[in-house]
């Protein structure tokens, strides 16, 4: 267990150090998200559409697309110069590699969210974090589910020829239940619905998070081995 945790922690530290140096993923996701928010801002006629009704959808589309770019990029780093082979050579449980990559991407997704939400607030003139604790829980559960299955699919796609295209193409349908539940929970919180009304979406999010984590943990070893 100690080796598992220290291996995963070393991978997280390595990924964050690389990102802090290059700022490649954060810059890309930031630009992409701002562009998405801007396009939706022009697409909707805010005089006829209530911003509370579209806010969660717009936000999660920005998180989803920027997250899939970031996830793909993170595994491409492992493929460059054969680094994934170097990880496979190490006396390390394969699940330790999975949890390390998943955790580092989860942290980067949460960081992206922390950057995107204030921009969204300014652009759409709405405070989506009014029910702060519950909205944070929604964002965390949504990000966890997305990254749990995203790390698995990115590891699978990185060995394919059309990897840049195949990653998001495989990821988006699989991650749909998590995104739908997250949009419903976030939207309910923004519209001021009672906890009873949105509780089911939290349950769906939690269940899918557990399923994705367990399945990914079990199959990751077979996905990355040649």
């Amino acid at each position: 267990m100690k080796r598992f945790l220290s291996g995963a922690a070393a991978i997280v530290r390595k990924d964050l150090a690389m990102e802090l140096r290059g700022k490649e993923i954060i810059t890309t996701t930031f630009m992409f998200s701002v562009l998405t928010l801007l396009i939706f801002n022009f697409a909707f006629d805010m005089t006829s559409v209530k911003v509370e009704d579209v806010a969660a959808g717009v936000l999660w589309v920005a998180f989803l697309f920027s997250g899939s770019i970031s996830m793909n990029r993170s595994f491409l780093h492992e493929k460059e110069e054969g680094c994934l082979s170097a990880l496979m050579l190490a006396p390390l449980d394969r699940s330790s590699v999975y949890f390390g990559k998943m955790a580092s991407n989860l942290l980067l997704t949460l960081l992206s969210m922390a950057i995107i939400i204030p921009i969204f607030t300014v652009m759409y003139n709405i405070n989506v974090m009014e029910r702060f604790a519950l909205q944070c829980l929604t964002l965390f559960l949504g990000a966890l589910g997305f990254n749990a299955v995203g790390a698995l699919i990115a590891a699978m796609a990185v060995n394919l020829r059309a990897r840049e295209m195949m990653g998001p193409l495989l990821l988006l349908p699989v991650v749909a239940p998590v995104v739908i539940a997250a949009v419903k929970a976030s939207g309910g919180l923004i519209r001021g619905e009672s906890l009873d009304q949105i509780w089911v979406w939290f349950q769906i999010l939690a269940v899918f998070d557990v399923i994705y984590l367990v399945v990914s943990w079990l199959v990751f070893e077979h996905i990355i081995e040649e």
Binding site: R3, R13, E81, L87, L89, A90
Partner: protein, 244 residues
């Protein structure tokens, strides 16, 4: 660490590796004794890299049996065995955005080295990169990257060293530095299996020489029994007669 009871340290028994309908390795049987330095020559597509990656535990054989240090590891290497293997490829296997020092500390931690920072310093000195330790690997020349790659492979102090085309793209100075390092590692009784296209270097470094072509080992002799001057002709003959 080494196995000195006379039985081979690495033993491949009728190993086959199939990718789709292609037999990359086609029934290779090979035994490498502890402390031996085996050079494998062969043309592109002969299955040499696949063979080496199977020994390293990166690829699983489709058929046959792989025995290392007396244990059958056909279906996967256990952690203790992984700690005994150092693998150097024509790719550097290091993170380009990290500094040389960060790379070595990271891999030392993965291998559970007790003092990763001290180990990184020792290795940086050993490969002559101590003055560039804080520079990202992406700023290194090909030769420097290869030296860093060697340091990475030695982070766990392995007694089995696998080298896949380690001289590719190296200038004269870097190649001679690598040669000296390999000679030193061999003198420390480490077992070395090297793949190379460079006949001269391969003959000089190996205590035993094999030629692989079309997925099979077609020549296997002690280096002392080989007439170096006539070897190119032997090699060309074997490679030319192999059917692809």
């Amino acid at each position: 660490m080494t196995q000195n009871n006379g039985s081979p340290l690495i033993e491949l028994k009728s190993i086959v590796k199939r990718f789709g309908r292609v037999n990359a390795v086609n029934g290779v049987s090979l035994a490498v004794k502890s402390g031996e330095s085996l050079t494998i020559f062969g043309p592109n597509g002969a299955g040499k890299t696949t063979l080496l990656r199977m020994i390293a535990g990166l690829v699983k054989p489709t058929e046959g049996e792989l025995v290392i240090a007396g244990e059958e590891v056909t279906h996967g290497h256990h952690d203790d065995l992984r700690r005994r293997i150092g693998y150097i490829s024509h790719q550097s296997l290091v993170y380009q955005e990290l500094t040389a020092r960060e790379n070595l500390v990271f891999f030392a931690k993965l291998y559970g080295v007790s003092e990763p920072h001290a180990k990184a310093e020792t290795l940086l000195k050993e490969v002559g990169l101590e003055s560039r330790g804080d520079d990202p690997a992406q700023t290194f020349s090909r030769g420097m990257k290869q030296r860093l790659s060697i340091a990475r492979a030695l982070v766990n102090d392995p007694d089995i060293i696998l080298l896949d085309e380690p001289f590719t793209g190296l200038d004269q100075h870097a190649a001679s530095m690598l040669q000296n390092l390999l000679k030193r590692l061999h003198s420390e009784k480490r077992t070395i299996v090297m793949i190379t296209h460079n006949l001269q270097v391969g003959l000089e470094m190996g205590t035993r020489v094999a030629i692989q072509a079309a997925g099979k080992i077609r020549f296997d002799k002690a280096a002392s029994e080989i007439d170096h001057a006539a070897f190119t002709e032997v090699y060309n003959g074997i490679v030319g007669s192999a059917h692809y």
